[in-house]
Amino acid sequence: MTRIVVVGAGPAGVAAATLLVERGADVTLIEERAQPGGQVWRAPAPGLALDMDRLLRGDSEGFRRFHAGFAVLRPRIDWRPETLVWNVHGGTVQIVAGGAQQALPYDALLLATGATDRIAPIPGWTLPGVFALGGAQAVLKDQGCLIGREVVFCGSSPLLFLAAVQYARFGAAVTVLDTTPLGAKISAVPGLAASAPRQLAKGIGLMAALRRQGRPMHLGVTLLGFEGSGGVTGVRWRDARGVERVTACDAVAYGHGLRPESQLAEIAGASLRFDRLRRFHAPEADALGRCGNGLYVAGDGAAIGGAEAAEVSGRLAAMALLADRGESVEFGALPERLARLRRFQDGLARAFAWPHAQVAALADGVTVCRCEQITAGEVRAVLAPQLGAAEVNRMKAATRCGMGRCQGRYCGHAAAEITAAALGRADAPLDRLRAQPPVKPLPIASALVEDDWP
């Protein structure tokens, strides 16, 4: 019997697994966390009675539907929670679970590894109390905690207002500083209205909700930096008219959208392609998620698309997988639906653009790599077209930028922008830091092999 391994139990992975078992396949679903849900349907830690209706409001129906669906799916699959896939090699996924490494062979592999925050460094971004936007949201969804009492939500992301509203529902005094240029948002509206009127209305509703509650909200601002010693105490910013201001706070949630967690796909053999609109690399796949050689990608890990697109793409990738194994499948209207959802995301990507020029111009003294404490100036100092670092991996070799615990997952995008701009190549496809296993830190104690050495 063919063994299909699905990695990631967010909406994409669970939708894929559901379709596959319905068609009689033998499915192993692997998830690093204790519970399914991924980012969007992340469930509170066991034993924590978090009021999900209060947190999610209109989305709580989706949350319930997802978890009810999973309860039905669970007994029909080989469910492996708290299991990290650290590597893919020679037709096996390499996992760590319960403190032990193990290899699981597969016939087909479907990666639904999702996305995490993309960080645009600015002065003070490494201060304690400054959280990535998604991280701030995760703390609330997962632990029922807030990152602070007076929280500034800043940056540019479709999740900015959602996260701020959720924090406000749980009693935080929130301020929103949206750096999105107003023009970009307005020019994106017609496209958004056509491709996904529901999502657009939802976004506008979130802003209106904050306004009604009298929460301070400033659009089209420029962030100058996070301030404080030992911990963040304020955000310095310039308003749309050019007036410089400081907002006091005890925590900051800061984000510029998401980037796919594509390391595992790269290690599994997918080629990566540079997405010029979003300025990151994503696995090269066809419209259904095929990467070739029995490898499939779905959800945010394939293309940033939000929860609905994740679910649809999960089903499509599962269908493509079945079709490739000789089964008859009806794709129906799903491919067109996914295409429409992704067009909507293109609109969002234009409206909430990654501020690449600002990142490329980051002041020399500002830290780029948090793990290794490497500044923009240190990156620039080693760059040279000949006999210096002429691309980002050589830059890393010379400076250690991207060589720490996170392996460049957080600094890699900024480092690539700074490198390309300094070498006069900002318009060409960016270089990227190459991935190697493990995708996350791997405990030495998990190596429980019989080895006759010495």
């Binding site: 000949q386 050495w453 010495p454």
Partner: protein, 396 residues
Amino acid sequence: MSSVTADVGIIGGGLTGCATAYHLARRGARVVLLERGFVGAQSSGVNFGNLRLQGRYLRQLPLALRAQRLWEELEAEIGESVEFSQTGHVLAAVTPAHVAEIETHAVDCKPYGLDVEILDRRETLRRWPFLGEIVIGSSWSPRDATVNSRLVCPALARAARRHGADIREQVSVTAVEQAAGGAFRVVTDQGFVLDCGHLVNAAGAWAAPLAAQFGEEVPAFAAGPVQMVTEPLPRFLDPVIHAVDGGILFRQTARGNVLIAGHPRVPVDAESRRTRVPPQKATINMARLAKIAPFLRTQNIIRMWTGIEGYLPDMLPVFGPSRTTPGLLHAFAFCGHGLQIGPAVGAVLAELILDGGTQTPIGDFAIDRFRTPMAADKAKLKHEFDMEILDRKMPN
């Protein structure tokens, strides 16, 4: 097609090529070095950084000791740091056979001018108390050192350029022709040719086809020594700890990470230049590390990698003049120990080219030792290489 002329052309900008360019340029020769990618981006820039003297092939010691003197002076000479650190090296014995081996070696290396100290179990554990129960003795070599290999080639290449060497990156050599007078014409993929009187074949794991073109076939093959690294830890270790049989070795970098390696080497694809560490192999190295240094069990591995290194069945490099073609010199397949001797290899090649000879003995590395086919001692190499390599790549 434009042409460039030089006294000496060098193919390959690893340590071998860069050190050769440096020594030649310092002595006034006109040198052009061609590197397909970036200098030091292959073996020379991804290695363990071990400048190990003890445990080497004995008759390589004159070359190795000459190299160590050059390393000791290098940073001052070129004005850049390569994180050279003379921290010494520990050969850790974990079997009685290992103890016998280090005791013999300590006597044998003395006449060459290498002094090492044999330590019993007690003294070994007194000096490095974190070592595991399995360590029963050691050999201590204080002159051994380490460098950050990522920094070495770019720094040496810049120094060579300051002395007038013309070093070109992202230029691939596609063919070598020889004119009637004996001069070489090196054809590149960048629209120019290089004409030179001497040619150094320093193309690492990719050098054997060029030698074969000049009638010098060698049974070279590529393999990858597995490396991995932990997160940075507070300082606890200065020297390299190296099990006598190479089954596991580790050191702590200047930043604090523990760098871990260990035999056997794994298969690599020199053609595509993509390397992946087989996970079973990584797991074995982690388990061995936990045996030799149990307290590291609580640490995490954050990255693993390997490189593409050239090997020969007798575990010695090809290094010296061509036996068929005057003006051609070979220096490749350093069998996993080319970093330490690299500077001296460059100095010797400069002497061979500019002086017509050298005082440093290198006869054992001559390319024509393979004229009569050499059978690999597979039993002996079993610890060194993955079975797949032994079965597929080794001559019988």
